[in-house]
Amino acid sequence: MKVVHSWLKEYVGEALPEADRVEELLTFHAFEVEGTELVGEESVIEVKVLPDRASDCLSHRGIARELGSILNVPLQSDPLTVPITLPSTDKVSVAISDTNACPRFTATLFANITIQESPQWLQQRLLALGQRPINNVVDATNYVMFALGQPMHAYDADKIPQVDGVRHLGVRFASAGETVSLLAEGGKNEDRVVTLQGTELLITAGANDGPIGLAGVKGGRFAELTPTTKHIIIEAAHFDPATIRKTARRHNILTDASKRFENAPAVQLPLYAQQMIATLLQDIAGGECQGICDVYAPKAALPPVTVSVATVRRLLGLSLTASEVEQFLLRIGAKVTTIQEGVFSVEAPFERTDLVGEENYVDEVGRLHGLSAIEGVMPTAVPLREINSLQYYSDRVRVALVELGFSEVITSSFQKKGEVQLQNALASDKSYLRDTLRSTITTVLDTNHAYADRLGLTAIRVFEIGTVFHKTSEGVSEHVALTMGVRTKGNGYTAKDDVLLRESIVALEAVLGVSGEWQLEKGVAELHFSALVASLPVPTAYHPFSKQADVTYQKVSPFPAISRDIALFVPANEQVEIVATELVNTAGALLVRHTLFDTYTKEGRTSYAFRLVFQAPDRTLTDDEVATIMEQIYHVVQQKGWEVR
C-alpha cells in the first residue's frame, strides 16, 4: 500500500514526523516499509501491510491511525468519527437475495453532477499513488477508497431503469453461463464480456435484475459514466470476503477493490465512505446528494474480549503494570473496562476486525510498547529426551561414505516421469515426484564425470539420502531411500563400477553392523533406508559434532576446463610439495587444480606426473592460452634443472 505523507498528515496533524522517521516507526511497531519515493512534491511511502491488517490498513486513515497509536497522539481529523448526516431516500431501492453474501449495500443518489477533470490537488494525490486520474466522479470514488479502504462504484443513474420514479438495484448470485460486460482496464473502450459460473455475486438493475457489474470486483459497462452524465448513484457495500476472493481469482480480475473486499473491511465503513464522497462531490462536481438507501442485515457484534495483564506479561516476557497495559489498549482506540484487578474487558474500535482474541491484544501491547524492550532469556538446559534414529543413522552413513570417497548430493524431488503426478506442476518435465533416486543419481554420475579432472578424481562416487514417493491403495506413501553410484569411465557404465560399488557397500555395512537389501544395477545401488533404520538398534547419543574450519565458497565457473599432463624427473631427494609449488606459481590463477597421479623413483631420480587443470571464471580458455602457460612451465622447470619426460 502506497501512502502519501501529506495525506497522512491531514489526519494525524502536526505530530506526524518526516517520512524517514515514519518509516522507522512503522518498521519497528507495525509494518515493514519498502521505501519512500518522491513523486512530484509528495513523499510516497510504500508500506507492506500485513495480511491480518489488510482489513483496516489498506487505507490512509488506517495507517494514520496506526501512527497516531504509535506516537500516542489522537488523530487531528478522523473521517471515521464524523457524524453521518446523509438523509435517506426512497428514489433508490436495493434488493439483496443473500444477506450472508452481501450483508450491506448502500447507494447514494446525486443530482446536478458535472463530469469534468478533477482539481489539481486530487489529481496529484492519485498520481502520487500511481493512479491515472479519469474524471472527477471516478477519481472521487478512488480517493475515498484510498482514504478509508472502502471500495466504491459510480453508476450513471439515468441508465438505471425506473419503476414509478424509483431506481431499482439488486445483488444476487449469477446463474451458470450468464454473461456480464465489464469496464475495460485503464479506461480502454472495449467490451470485456465475462461468462459466469454461478458462484459470482452480481450487481443488477431494473425490474428484470439484469447484471450491471461483478460485485466487489469490477463495474460493468451498462451504467458507465459519460461526459454528459447528470445523475449518479454511488455504491458502497460489504460483501462476503471468500465470495469476492473466489470470483476475482477464478476470472483473474484482481483489482484494488477486490483486494480490499477479500480482506473483510468493517461493515460500518460504507456509511463513512458515503459521507466523505458526498462532501467531496459537492465540492468538485457540484453534485447534490439526494439521499442514501442503506440495506443492512447486521450480524451480532463480537463480544468484548477479556484481556488479563498476567497473560500479556506471561507471553511477552515484559513486566508491564496494569495501567501501562490499559494505556496501550486505549491508544488503539479500544474501549477498556476493568472487570477486576488486572483484568479488562476490551471492545475493539469497529474498523479493527482483526482483534478477536486475547492474543491479538497481547500483540498490540507488545508492538506499541516496542519489541526491542524484550530481553533474551535462555531456557534452562534439560537433558535430551530422544535421539532421532533417521538423523543418527543418516549421519553415520554420511561419515562412512565420505571416508570411502563418496560425495553427497541433494537432487530435485521432481522428475519427468513417475508414479505420482502433481496437480499443478512447475513445468512439464517436473510434473511427477520421484519414486527412486536412481535416475537422478545416474544423471549426476554422467554430468560429473566430465568434471573428473577439474575435481581431481579418477572415478565419480556419489550418494543421496532422500524421500521417494509411491502410489498405494492408501494414497501416496513415502520413504527415505539411500542411493549410491560409482562411475569410472566417461562414456557410461562399465562392469568395474559395480565391483567398486559392491566393495563400498560391504565397507558401509561393516560400519552399520547390518546388511541391507540393495537394488544394484548399472553402477547405482538403492536401499529402502527407512526400513533399514527401523531394524537398527535405537541410538542413545549423537556422535559429538566437530566444527569444520570455515569454508568460503567460490562460484563454479560455467566455462569449460582444459587439462594438460606433465611428468618430470627431479633429484630423488626433491620434495613433491616443492615441485608442485613451482608449477602452481608459474601457472598462475588460471590453474584451478593440480593432481599428482603417478610417482616412481629410479636410478637416483624421481618421476612425478601431474595433471594440470586450467579454467577461467569469465571466458572459455583457448588451447593457445594454455600452450603459452605450459611453455612458461617447461622453461621454469628447465631452469630448475628438472627434466620434462
Binding site: 507488545g366 535430551l384 554420511r398 561419515v399 541433494i410 502433481l422
Partner: protein, 240 residues
Amino acid sequence: MNIPRGHQHPITQMITEINSIFSEIGFVFTEGPEAETEAYNFDRLNVPKDHPSRDMQDTFWFKSTDVLEPMVLRTHTSPVQARYMEKHEPPIRIIVPGKVFRNEATDATHEAQFYQLEGLYIDKDVHLGHLKGTLEYFFSRFFSGKTEVRFRPSFFPFVEPGVEVDMRLLEGNGKLVGKWIEVMGAGMVHPNVLRGCNIDPAHYSGFAFGMGIDRLGVMKYGVEDVRDYYTGDLRFVNQF
C-alpha cells in the same frame, strides 16, 4: 592409489551442526512427511480456508484421484508442530529440519524446493524473551561469534504475536559482522494451534520459529545462488 575423501553436502552439514547446537539445550530432532495433508499443512495451523493468508505460500497439490484426503507437498515444516504436540505432553522442545516445497518461479534466491528449520518450545511461562535468548544462543554458536537478535512485528497465522527476526553478528571480521540481516519468522504459538492439539493455552505457552537452511548457507558460506545446492554438481559440493 588412495581414494580421496568425499564431501558431505553443505545442507546436511548444517543440519548436523544445528542439531548439535540445539540438542545441548534439550531440543529433540523430529521429522514429518513431505507429502502432507491439507489439514496439517494449513487447517491445523490456523490458516483459514479461502483466506488471503494461504496465498503467502504457493502450494503443490496432489491429484485428488491419488489421495484419500486433500494433500500437498508441505510448504513448511510447521505441520510437524501439530503432529508432535498431539503425541507428546509439554514440556516440548523440538527442531524440525526438512525439505519443503513452494510452487513459485525460481531464481538465485528462490528454489521450488529447499530446506527449512522449524523450532518449537512449549512449557509453562514461555515468552518472547525465551525466543530471543534461544535464537541468540543458536546464532552465536552457528556463526562462531556473539550475535544479537531483534524483533519486528509480523504476521503468520499460526503465531500471535508474530515477529520477523533480524540478526547481527557482533564479532569477527567476516562480511556479516555489524549488519542487521533478516533471517526468519517466529512468534508465540497461536492458542488455536495449541487447543487443536489438546494443549490448554491457559496453562502452557510456547514459541515457534521457521527459517531457511539454504539461506543460512548463503550467509555462512557465501553461496550466491540457492539453486546450486540441488544441481548435484560436485564442483559445488566438493568445496565443502
